[in-house]
Amino acid sequence: MTPEEQNFMRKIEAEEKIEPKDWMPEAYRKNLIRQISQHAHSEVIGMQPEGNWITRAPSLRRKAVLLSKVQDEAGHGLYLYSAAETLGISRSEMIEQLQSGKAKYSSIFNYPTLTWADVAAIGWLVDGAAIVNQVSLQRTSYGPYSRGMIRICKEESFHQRQGYEAMLALAKGSPEQKAMAQDALNRFYWPALMMFGPHDSESAHSQKSMEWKIKRETNDDLRQKFIDQTVKQIEVLGLEHPDKNLKWNEERGHYDSSDLDWDEFWSVINGNGHCNRQRIEHHIAAHDEGEWVRDAIAAYNEKKRAKKAQNAA
């Protein structure tokens, strides 16, 4: 090990944060860029399935809450792009990677939002799963990412509460509303569990990420936490648990549950979800349509600069 590497590993061991100007192994930098930009893209693409219901929200209060939530997601995307930029990649490069398919986003957003209850289910389950992951990432070794997570976690817990509360209103509502809630739970429960990623044994980046303390807990441990915490929530809603094999295991102190359909997981990641193409096409279309606007700003600023220079001369 070089002295630089030794110093880097010493900081990691001592739980000191790595900061942008510190020396870091190239693989650490790359791994972080991959993870943070993927996280940022997830926030941004995640605006679509929920945005799909802003114009149809069933009450003014729900409309306002959803608007404010989707707006927060955009804000999270911004913090995370900024955190990734401290590692020497620009936002436009990251957007290019998203649009070309080189960078990924959370596969959960490849599932369609078909009813109003899906918006509630996303708030409750998807944001709920994200929080479990993000709480753990507050202790990540890279300073800007860790600080971003602390900030984001505060807002996400509000999202999760509003999602659950919206679900509760449906579950305690008319029979049609309850059926809508059950249907959304049945569809989103499994993909939410898959948000934690493949089993640790199959996870390409896990081992190194744990060693460098980019990740603090394994995919399977985080998933188990989420499974455990969701059982009681489903009970309170009075809905049926989608997992028929769910069973408390006294010895482990955890719930045992069904194996996930990993073929489906990989199939959706690899492009066979209902919305993979749609999400990226939407992003590209909005980005392309915005080009003349961005050009106008550049031209306007240039004119102002030229004028200023002329006045100064």
Partner: protein, 254 residues
Amino acid sequence: MSDAIKAATLEYATRLGDDAVVLGHRISEWVSYGPFLEEDIAYGNVALDYIGRARMFYTYAAELADDGRTEDDFAYMRSDREYRNLLLMEMPKGDFAYSQVRQLFADVYYTLVLPELLHSKDETLSAIAAKGIKETKYHLRRSREWVLRLGDGTEESHKRTQKAVDSLWGYTHEMFDMDETEQMLADAGIAVDVSKLRDAWHKMVSDILTEATLTVPEDGWAVRGGRTGYHTENLGHMLTEMQIVHRSYPGCQW
């Protein structure tokens, strides 16, 4: 409050609520379609302000109606023929220039209307105006900046912005019309006499358009009808979408 004044105030609050909900909805259509992420956030903010304002006006209307209706009954259970919003607010989102020009027209309008409404003898309307004034200051700063940049940006942005100005101009005239209801309320010191604001609006908007190297249109055409429920074809489609879930499950809580 006399019965006549109460009924007129209910109508007035509903009109102002309709303006806010329709414009808020149109702005919300931009979320995830903005030219960059910061704009998605800004659009979300402005839409939220308008939805919030609509809720305050409708809540007051419901209180005056005192017939068990809520803010959502006003927003979701009235048809386009019952809506009383200004036509400008219901025009579709169009391109970015179109939405920003509409926003400028509306923001200048509220910059003039709300300080007058602040002096209303009706305390609730005055309180809603007070909150709106703060929001509008920020809205106008943003839409003004955008129109300047788009008007004086590239050839294409200039062309698009001029086109937007020309296509929306005809819908601005009715913003300054008074009818019997509003006149009665204005005489009672409750409503704003918008007819007196026309020249100030024209001056402020013209100054901004001129600075943006845009041409102020001639007053050749004027479309009217929002306040009587005689709308463009756009509102029906907008409300169809907005009301679909609420109306599909009658009497439900959300």
